[in-house]
Symmetry: C2
């Protein structure tokens, strides 16, 4: 009888109730979630097929379409973080042997390459130094050379703070009968996006940046063109959890059980989307732009320089050059431990060269800038 | 200039702040999360590489080992729901062409079959009527016939309320040099489990049942035997988000960024594990058993019968036979709308034949039983 077996206690820990420091999160994400969002997340769960919960799912779908500026019927929140939603775009669009062309100008371009390879894509990539982007002419030349079935671009490179202009790319993809896949993890809510006008076919994002929610329930959308490719594939999607044919039956009219949704995160996401919608998505974009310009001028006033050319800088995330002779890691650590402010370090080509400073969602406020600048003055 | 493009508002909704009914969740899950867990989830997020957060991850790992009764170094929480953790066991153990033998006696056995096929396994299955389980002799005969590399069993079938005895199966798997994979979604925290003594190599669970947390951060563990198979595979795991070689670098000593963890859910899971640990895992098992026996006797006292033979009934989830002439769906709907009590309906072979009543985690209390019985007396 199993109950009679002795209990092993070597892994048991005596813990006190949760207590965490109150940080101002000005790194590449997560940002501090809006207090209303946090409050909603402590609401008692509903069942995942409760009519009251299905209504919340409908509200999330509709407001995700609004903030993304799309009418795609298949617009949902994936029950995982932004990386899961990223993988969902690949898993549902790539068939083994498909040529996928990926623009790599930072860490997340490389992640797309890794993921697409795992799903059997014939991956081709074009690259730019970290902090730059691709011109439409460069993309046109690469399309002519590789003739891909899917083009993957990162709208807002979280590793570099650089914005990739998308105007004209959708038309280019239609010319070549190619799907356009766009990473909007660090842009949704904070950087102007017009998915339908741009002709984007697959996009994903996260909850914990421009939307001001906690991480874990991640926006995903696919156009009817992308859905047609999915419906025509001869084999099952090689990922059960992210299979949009199954998920579509849960999020759509059929309401067929797929998995138990992370109910409380959906509460938070619904509230975050409600707050952005009340502000107006264009007002949210304008707020992010105004506050980041205040950040840039404030950083310049204390002698710091930005890594990315001004017109392509993201309003959500700024890469700040670490001055010669300054130990970037030590500064970031001091900001954290002495001032409770988190900033990010550089990745890849930018490791040791930049700090990454996010002003996203709830944290995109002049007060965030003032607190950071005050601390930097003491630390550098 | 993108900011000048007009905003489409057809998907915009004017919503009031979140307000949801306060249900008693006595279905197959989620259960109501413990108030302390919900409170923790509204704590402001930390960064996913903040030392204070890394400590919380360590605490989660250690307490997951305790509640599972394992010393597996690779024991983590997957950033998704229980189905994601399920897929993680398959993605990291199955190589294309591997024979995987799966015991199917309910919905979740079938889900394992579906998933394993997507990862290229040569799937063999044995089946039993829904509500029964496999004897050790039946498993031995199937092992001799199919010689699998992985045997997959469901410890607690959420669709039937039946418990699969595991004693002796680990030895059998070692005899055949086979990994043992066990679904403990509806057993962890509520049903005795001794992973190491049983010789289980891969297991997964969820947060929202026996542990009394909200859904979304899901226990996963693999033994050194399973890790050895993973390390020897010639190709990448065909799932980036669930690749345990990458995740091991984030959860282990290296702390290499993989994805942004669902911070607030980990807060909740840490608190849920702390509460179970304070109670003692064996006391939690005993509580679930005592309360479900009270449920069974109470149901019998109003003339209802259970579907599963008593010795194999789960302490966490009970399938209750719908009496002849009673409309099961109408009863469940009335319980929900008139009494704010959720119970589940039957799936597959048991559709229309049973209700599924969960007494899990925070909800495994005599008061839950009393409230349900009181409502059933009015409704049936």
């Amino acid at each position: 009888m199993t109950l009679a077996m002795s209990i092993v206690t070597n892994q048991l820990k005596q813990l006190t109730p949760l207590s965490v420091p109150d940080r101002l999160l000005l790194g590449p994400g997560p940002c501090n979630a809006h207090p209303t969002v946090l409050q909603a997340m402590s609401t008692t769960p509903l069942g995942h097929l409760d009519p009251a919960f299905l209504q919340i799912m409908d509200e999330i779908q509709s407001l995700l379409r609004y903030v993304w500026q799309t009418d795609n019927p298949h617009t949902i929140a994936v029950s995982g973080t932004g990386s899961a939603a990223m993988e969902a775009t690949i898993a549902n669009s790539v068939e083994p042997g498909d040529v996928m062309l990926i623009g790599v100008a930072g860490y997340f371009g490389n992640r797309l390459v890794d993921m697409a390879g795992r799903y059997g894509a014939d991956v081709r990539s074009i690259s730019k130094p970290w902090g730059q982007n691709f011109t439409l002419d460069e993309l046109r030349a690469a399309m002519a050379e590789h003739r891909p079935k899917i083009l993957g671009l990162v709208h807002a490179e979280t590793s570099t703070g650089c914005r990739q202009p998308i105007e004209g790319v959708g038309e280019l993809c239609r010319e070549y009968d190619c799907l356009l896949l766009l990473d909007t993890v660090t842009s949704l809510g904070g950087v102007p996006i017009h998915l339908d006008k741009w002709g984007v076919d697959l996009a994903y994002s996260c909850s914990q940046k421009g939307l001001g929610c906690a991480p874990g329930a991640s926006p995903f959308t696919m156009s009817p063109r992308a859905m047609a490719k999915l419906l025509a594939r001869p084999t099952k999607v090689p990922n059960w959890y992210l299979d949009m044919l199954l998920l579509g039956k849960y999020w759509g009219a059929e309401r067929v059980y797929h998995h138990t949704a992370p109910i409380n995160l959906y509460y938070g996401l619904r509230e975050a989307l409600r707050l952005v919608s009340e502000e107006g998505i264009d007002n949210s974009w304008a707020r992010h732009q105004a506050n980041v310009e205040y950040l840039w001028s404030s950083l310049e006033s204390i002698g710091l320089k930005m890594h990315v050319e001004k017109q392509y800088r993201l309003p959500t995330l700024t890469t700040v050059c670490i001055p010669d002779g300054v130990d970037g890691k030590a500064v970031a650590k001091q900001l954290l431990t002495e001032h409770n402010i988190e900033v990010g370090g550089g990745l890849g080509e930018l490791a040791g060269k930049v700090w990454r400073v996010g002003l996203m969602g709830y944290n995109s406020r002049p007060e965030s800038v003032d607190r950071l600048i005050g601390a930097l003055k003491q630390v550098i």
